[in-house]
Every structure is written in C-alpha cells, then in structure tokens.
C-alpha cells in the first residue's frame, strides 16, 4: 500500500509538471526543454527556506514560485527572440546553465552534496497545527495542488487568452497583424508554466526530504516533454494520462521478469521503444489535439 501511495505522489508531482509544460509547448507551441530548471528552483527554494530559515512550507511554495517567475521572465525575454528549433536549442542551454548553478553555487545549494533533512509540510492555522508526515496525508496535499493547477490551467486555456495562444502556435505573424503583441502572451504563459513547475519542485523536496542537482538535469526536462507528447499536446487531461503512463510503466516492467543484472537497462530500452512506436503510429499522443 505504501508503495502505491508513493507512486501516486510521484504521479501527482509529474502531472503538475506535465500540465505546466503543456501550457507552453502544447498551447503556445513553444518547444521549451527547460522545465526541470523551474522544477529545481521550486525544490531548492523549499529546501533552503525550510532547513536554513525555518520558513513554513506553504510560504516557501509561494516564494519558490516568485523566484521561478522572475527567473523565467528573464529567460523568456531572451527566448522570445527565437522560433522553432532554435527556441528548443536555446532553452536547452538555459536548463544547463540553471543546473550548473545548482551544482556550483555551493554556499547556497551545497552543490553535489545536496540538501538533506527537509521537513514535511506543517499546516498551521492559529493554534491548530498539523504536520503532514504520513505519506497518505502528503498524497492528499499533492492531489489538492494537482487539482488546483489543473483548474487554473483549464481556466487559462478556455479563456480568450488561451485562444490567442493557440493562434500564436498556428501562425504567429497572422495573429500579430490583428493587433496582438504576441511576445507578451508568450512571456506570460512561460512565466505561469514556470511557476506551476516550481510548485511541483516544492512538493518533491518536501516529500523526498533530500534533494541534489541530479534531479533537475536536462534529462528530466526531456522526461517531462515525453509525458506531454505521449499524453497529447494541447490537452490537459493528456498530460495527466502521460504522467500516469510514464510513472507506472517502469513499475509494470519490474514484473516482466528480466534477469536482475539487466533489468534497469531493459526498462530504459522498452521505454525508448514505446516512445518511438508512439511517434511513428500516433504522433498526436494518446489524446492530443495538436501535432508538433
């Protein structure tokens, strides 16, 4: 049971990450591969604030979102000068830069040693206190955040703003001549996506209670991208499905009975093969509304 709850918590965290990136890639058509940078910023904000300053978890979530918002605004300004493949490449670069900062700013992040001993969230209302220490309680908390992120995202994509985002994805020049300053829309959605990813980071840090830079590499960004491509671009439920699939897949493969010596590698291979097959036969993903 604990094992299932553990998987469900990971699923909720990755579903948040998937939704946050889907807003940027699926709706606005910006092929960003830097989501783990903002995920990491959220995680480090919570880790540093909780261990070093005794700040409440929920306040650390908000502060983490603010830092991710500021950083993503700056990165977004540079990215808005690029399109298509170049956009993806430059976003790669930013992921690597942020990762290097996690790794090398040792006074702040303790570098490769990581930050241990991050506490679980403490809910305080007046004199009433509840430490969310059991995994079941943490699952409820993570699910609430997932629901919140889902509904905010749904609100955004169903608004007129969301419709303009899709038009930018389809033909940026064509929507510009109607008086839309597209760079603003692109910046705003990039910042919103980054702030949502920071929430996932805070949850991750507090759940695992230890973080180090290895959780926020370029690979992680590609994994998040795989979630939304598999689930389907421009469909929020698709991101949830994609997260469910990619979190459960390795676990299911545990039971296939590969010899222990090669099990881990075989899981990677199967995972890769499934992605390739999907791209060949169903490029729009499971429930996607848009193909890259």
């Amino acid at each position: 049971m604990e094992y299932l709850i553990h998987l469900a918590i990971l699923f909720a965290i990755y579903a948040i990450l998937g939704i946050s990136l889907n807003l940027v890639v699926g709706y606005a058509g910006l092929l960003s591969v830097t989501q783990s940078a903002f995920y990491g910023i959220g995680a480090y904000a919570t880790a540093i604030l909780l261990t070093g300053y005794g700040v409440n978890f929920f306040l650390s979530v908000i502060l983490g979102m603010l830092v991710a918002g500021v950083v993503s605004f700056a990165i977004g300004l540079v990215l808005s000068k690029f399109n298509g493949d170049y956009y993806a490449l430059v976003s790669f670069g930013f992921n690597i830069i942020v990762f290097s900062i996690f790794l090398n700013w040792q006074e702040l992040t303790r570098g490769p040693l990581g930050i241990p001993g991050i506490s679980r969230p403490l809910l305080e209302i007046g004199n009433w206190k509840l430490e969310i220490s059991s995994n079941l309680h943490f699952l409820i908390l993570a699910s609430l955040f997932l629901i919140l992120v889902y509904f905010i995202s749904r609100f955004i994509v169903n608004s007129s703003f969301g419709r303009v985002l899709k038009a930018i994805r389809e033909d940026e020049k064509a929507i510009q001549v109607f008086g839309y300053r597209t760079s603003l829309y692109k910046s705003i959605i990039f910042v919103i996506g980054a702030m949502m990813a920071a929430i996932a980071g805070s949850l991750f840090a507090s759940y695992i209670t230890f973080i180090d830079p290895s959780s926020f590499t370029l690979n992680e960004s590609i994994f998040i991208l795989a979630i939304i491509i598999l689930g389907g671009l421009a469909n929020l439920r698709g991101s949830i499905l994609g997260a469910l699939f990619l979190i459960l897949l390795p676990e299911i493969l545990r039971f296939v009975g590969f010899p222990d010596s090669i099990a881990a590698q075989m899981r990677q291979v199967v995972y890769g093969v499934i992605l390739v097959l999907l791209m060949l036969y169903r490029p729009q993903g499971l429930v996607g509304e848009y193909k890259l």
Binding site: I156, S159, S160, F161, R163, V164, K166, A167, R169, E170, D171, K173, A174, I175, Q176, V177, F178, G179, Y180, R181, T182, L184, Y185, I188, E289, Y290, K291
Partner: protein
C-alpha cells in the same frame, strides 16, 4: 474657417506612401514608390507577377520592414511599424497564401480576433452573445456556418479563402474598427458562387465608407469593382487612374502581354 475650395478639390486620403522602397538581395521589389489611396473607395493594384504588389501589401501591414520611405495613414507619418501596431491604425488584411489557424475550429478562427488586445484582460474574458452573434453573422455570410466546428485545415481551398476574409471582417477592435482593408487576391481559386460572395462583401465595405485596396489579376473584376487603379511593374508605378482609361493605355497592355 474651412476653405470651401480645398474641401471640394482635395480628396480625403486613407493611406499614402512617399518614396517607399524594399530590396530583396539586390532585387528591387518596391522601388521608390509614392502613391495615395483615396478614402472610402476600392482601389485596385495590378501588374504582372513579381511586380511588387504583394510586397507593397506586406509593407503596408508591417509584416516586413521597409528599407526607406514614409507611410502616411490617416494623416499620420510612420517610419517604422511593427505588425501588431498596424491594427491600431485601422488596417486589416488577408494573405495571398491563405494563413488560417489550421488546428483551430472555424468558429475559433473568427472568435480569436474578437477579443481584447490586452493579454491580462483577455484572461478573464468570456465570449458574450454579442461576439457570438457577430461570428455567426459573418460565417453565415460566407456560407461557413455549417462548418463552424470543423478544424480550419479540413476546409476546401475556396472555403479557407472565405474564412480568411470573414476573419478580416471580424477584426473589430474595442476602440478602432478597421477602416482600411488590404485584400491580396481574394478571388484567386474561388468558384463562381464564392466570387459573388466576395464581390458582395467588397461592395458592402465601400457602402460603409471603408477603404479597400485590392490586388487582382482578373481585369473584368477590376473594371467592375475598382474606382481607381495603380499599375505596377518592376516595383515602380507604371500608370494610375480610372480602370477603363488605364486599362486601355498602350504601356499597360504591353506590360501584361510582355509578361
């Protein structure tokens, strides 16, 4: 006090260009061009392929920057303009190569331009009945209402063209309705009944005092619709005037036949 004489003889100008130029790798697509387009009229721009007509429309709509010259819209001089700024001067356009939002529905292609231009405001905006009615009216006019829930990419070529025209008409801003319509070959590839629809739309725009700039190859349509035409050749102005007169000129005929 307004001078009665000037009022009678000076025509109101919607758009004017002074010495506008655009070069592509040494080719002069538009070469030191100066024209003035009268307000509330349908003005045709004709000329052989590659004479710079579409480049001119692209310059007018800010899609490409000019290399030199001045654009004057409603009396205001503009040196450089960004694509999104052109809409605030009341200009809207259709593209020669149809540019729809392909993976959006027909209805959404219209509704998308019926929203606030302020991003944060549009976040909290839902479409009210007024906008939906307007979209319905435009889609019915262009015979696309039945197709409203289909993706734009699934329409036939002619329907795509009509949808783009409907989108240009829908572009009504909260503070500035478009006054100047740039139509780059709106009739190309249309079936006869569709041509009628577009003709009707152009006449209606004129009736409402709007200015239309029309690029077209079909001289019968030019004769029927245009009040005034400019003939371009190699990025320069070859002739201008009322269609019947200009189309009878020897150089104009030569420019076309010599193509």
């Amino acid at each position: 006090m307004e001078n009665q004489a000037t009022k009678n003889y000076v025509k109101p100008i919607a758009v004017a260009l002074r010495g506008l130029s655009k070069h592509f790798d040494g080719v002069r697509a538009v070469d030191d061009l100066s024209i003035a387009v009268e307000k509330g009229k349908i003005t045709g721009i004709i000329g052989p392929n590659g004479s710079g007509k579409s480049t001119l429309i692209n310059l007018l709509s800010g899609i490409i920057p000019s290399d030199g010259g001045v654009l004057i819209i409603s009396g205001e001089k503009i040196k450089k303009i960004k694509p999104w700024e052109i809409a605030f001067y009341g200009i809207t356009r259709i593209f020669q190569e149809v540019r729809l939002f392909n993976q959006m529905t027909v209805l959404d292609n219209i509704l998308v331009v019926l929203t606030s231009r302020a991003p944060l405001k549009s976040l909290f905006e839902k479409h009210n009945q007024f906008y939906l009615n307007r979209a319905e009216e435009l889609l019915k006019k262009t015979d696309l209402w039945e197709k409203r829930n289909e993706l734009a990419i699934n329409l036939s070529y002619g329907q795509r063209k009509l949808l783009e025209i409907a989108r240009a008409l829908a572009n009504s801003m909260v503070d500035a309705d478009p006054d100047i319509f740039l139509f780059d070959e709106p009739f190309a590839g249309l079936f006869p009944h569709m041509v009628k629809i577009v003709e009707e739309i152009l006449r209606e725009l004129k009736k409402h005092g709007k200015t239309v700039i029309l690029i077209e190859h079909n001289m019968n349509l030019i004769r029927e619709l245009c009040d005034y035409i400019f003939v371009m050749d190699s990025g320069k102005l070859l002739a201008e005037g009322e269609p019947d007169k200009v189309l009878a000129e020897k150089e104009v005929i030569e420019a076309y036949l010599g193509e």
